[in-house]
Amino acid sequence: MKLIEAIIKPFKLDEVKDALNEIGIEGITVSEVKGFGRQKGHTELYRGAEYVVDFIPKVKIEIAVADELVVKVVETIENTAKTGRIGDGKIFIIPLDEAVRIRTGEKGIEAI
């Protein structure tokens, strides 16, 4: 099992969610996050006072998947979240030791 964590541009969220649904992913966790990569921040100017905003709003998606689905999921996210411009985000693949469905007590693949 793997946990796929993708940081994407907020306006791409719906597209990515629909694409993941189409390939059979049933559960995702979404958080609003802030950060920066190569895109760096941006500047805001209020009546002559200039502020550099380092952290840019992003969306983080977390999906727990069986090993054989990893490549497909990553490809799907990569294809749908891509705009080609700086700041499109990143995908991290993290080993997942265990998963438990709280309602039934199922474990492992059954739980995701």
Binding site: E44, L45, Y46, R47, G48, A49, Y51, V53
Partner: protein, 489 residues
């Protein structure tokens, strides 16, 4: 403990001033005011007041000199509306300023405007109106207290109320109840002191601010209104032009804001810490409300125009037009100036430009024609944009640019009035150099007076109550530390 002490000082100040006002009420005025209020001193019989609407318009051409004033219901209706419009500017100002501060200070900033309505509302009735528009004492410097508590504005004949009428030019018929005039002017006093709060937001102690509001209105605003708008006032007699408050309202509050800053110091973290506006929609909502209310401010001021006795006539129409045109031009010119200088046309910039245009056209509203209003507006946007940029260069912390917009705009507007005036007065372009020099004198005198008295007031308050909140309280935010509330839950 410190708060309690401050609160006691506030109460003591009010308590000290009440007896003075009450005593003065007993005193009879030695001589009635000569021009503006002379007719208003004589209470018109109730019957005449009732009959007025039908007779006033037709009687105008043949009116004898120094007739008793006759109630004009059209003027009265417009002045009631105008008064309410000016009051509406105060929540407008509260939102304008409130949106520009950080989230933790929005309520405190809004309160600075709202509490001014409370304090000045009472102060004006107790003594402010009398000090501003009461019979003159001291050679055009201030009114006496014979109208304290609005004394003399109502009397009773055979048990029926008889209301005093106000008329600016006693040789023309057409007057409004003096209560209406007094309340119209009350709204001006309320908003003027609230304008200062923009310079001191996010760090001033609320108790000290409340005392400041009371003292500043009494010692600075009331005399200035008397100088400029009362027919006995020395600047009025000199012929200084201030249609709706360029000198009395904007210049005085803007310059006072600068004086106050000296004692208050910069906000912690200024200018390197992020102090961006927390809600620009709120600010722009405030701009809209201000513009709307400003029609009452300027078009209502036809009542005090030196060559006009009708409040709801052509002059009001002209003032209404210039109040539309100048801010429109100023919003555009600020936007373009910023576009060129900073690279983007910001929403805050357009809104600030509109306010700058309103400030600059205020003294000129009924003295200039629309072509001049466009020029004044275009200049206002650029001049006040420069006024705001100055802050970054000179490194003083005028939180919301009360000085940059109102001080600079008020000064520029008063001088520009002396340049562009063509209606009821002649400015520099119409060949009257003297009028321009009068404007310079008025600006210098009012500016210097406001600056010096505010410096003294701020010094005294700083040494007695303390003007500023503790560093820890400032970082925590004034909503929490001064009011125990938070704006957004």
């Amino acid at each position: 403990m410190r708060f309690k002490l401050s609160f006691v000082t506030l109460l003591a100040t009010v308590a000290l001033m009440l007896p003075v006002a009450l005593l003065a009420e007993e005193a009879k005025p030695a001589a009635p005011a000569q021009a503006a209020l002379s007719s208003a001193q004589k209470a018109a019989p109730a019957a005449a007041a009732v009959a007025a609407p039908a007779t006033a318009p037709t009687a105008a051409p043949a009116a004898p000199k120094n007739v008793d004033p006759v109630l004009n219901t059209g003027d009265t209706a417009w002045m009631l509306v105008s008064s309410a419009l000016v009051l509406f500017m105060i929540p407008g100002l509260a939102f304008f300023y409130g949106g520009m501060v950080r989230q933790k200070n929005v309520l405190s900033t809004i309160m600075h405007s709202f509490v001014a309505m409370g304090i000045v509302g009472v102060q004006w009735a107790v003594m402010g109106y009398s000090l501003s528009f009461g019979p003159d004492v001291g050679g055009g410097l201030v009114g006496n207290l014979s109208k304290a508590l609005m004394n003399g504005l109502i009397s009773f004949k055979d048990g029926n109320p008889v209301f005093a009428l106000f008329q600016n030019v006693p040789t023309e018929p057409g007057a409004i109840p003096e209560y209406v005039f007094a309340m119209y002017q009350c709204m001006f006093a309320m908003i003027t002191v609230a304008l200062i709060s923009g310079a001191i937001a996010e760090r001033v102690k609320f108790s000290a601010y409340c005392v400041f509001v009371l003292l500043w209105t009494t010692l600075v605003y009331d005399p200035l209104a008397h100088w400029v708008w009362m027919s006995d006032g020395w600047l009025f007699k000199k012929g200084a032009l201030d249609f709706a408050g360029g000198t009395v309202v904007h210049l005085s509050s803007g310059i006072s804001a600068l004086a106050f800053l000296v004692f208050l110091g910069k906000r912690h973290g200024f200018p390197h810490e992020r102090m961006a506006p927390h809600s620009l929609p709120l600010t722009l909502l405030g701009v809209g409300m201000l513009w709307f209310g400003w029609f009452g401010f300027n078009a209502g001021s036809a009542i005090v125009g030196p060559n006009c006795s009708d409040a709801a006539g052509g002059l009001a129409g002209l003032a209404f037009a210039t109040t539309t045109i100048a801010p429109a031009a100023a919003g555009l010119s600020w936007m373009v100036a910023e576009w060129i200088h900073a690279g983007k046309p910001s929403a805050l910039g357009f809104g600030s430009g509109v306010v700058a245009g309103l400030v600059v056209i205020t003294p000129a509203a009924g003295f200039v024609q629309p072509g001049a209003a466009i020029l004044m507006g275009l200049a206002a946007g650029v001049v006040c944009y420069g006024g705001v940029m100055m802050k970054a260069k000179l490194k003083y912390d005028d939180s919301l640019d009360a000085f940059g917009v109102h001080g600079v705009g008020g000064t520029f507007g008063a001088l520009a009035t002396g340049v562009f005036a063509t209606v009821g007065a002649k400015g520099l372009l119409a060949g009257d150099m003297k009028q321009f020099m009068t404007q310079v004198i008025a600006v210098a005198a009012a500016g210097a007076y406001a600056f010096i008295v505010t410096l003294v007031l701020a010094f005294i308050l700083d040494k007695t109550m303390g003007l500023r909140v503790e560093k820890e309280d400032e970082i925590m935010g004034l909503d929490q530390t001064q009011h125990s509330e938070s704006a957004y839950n």
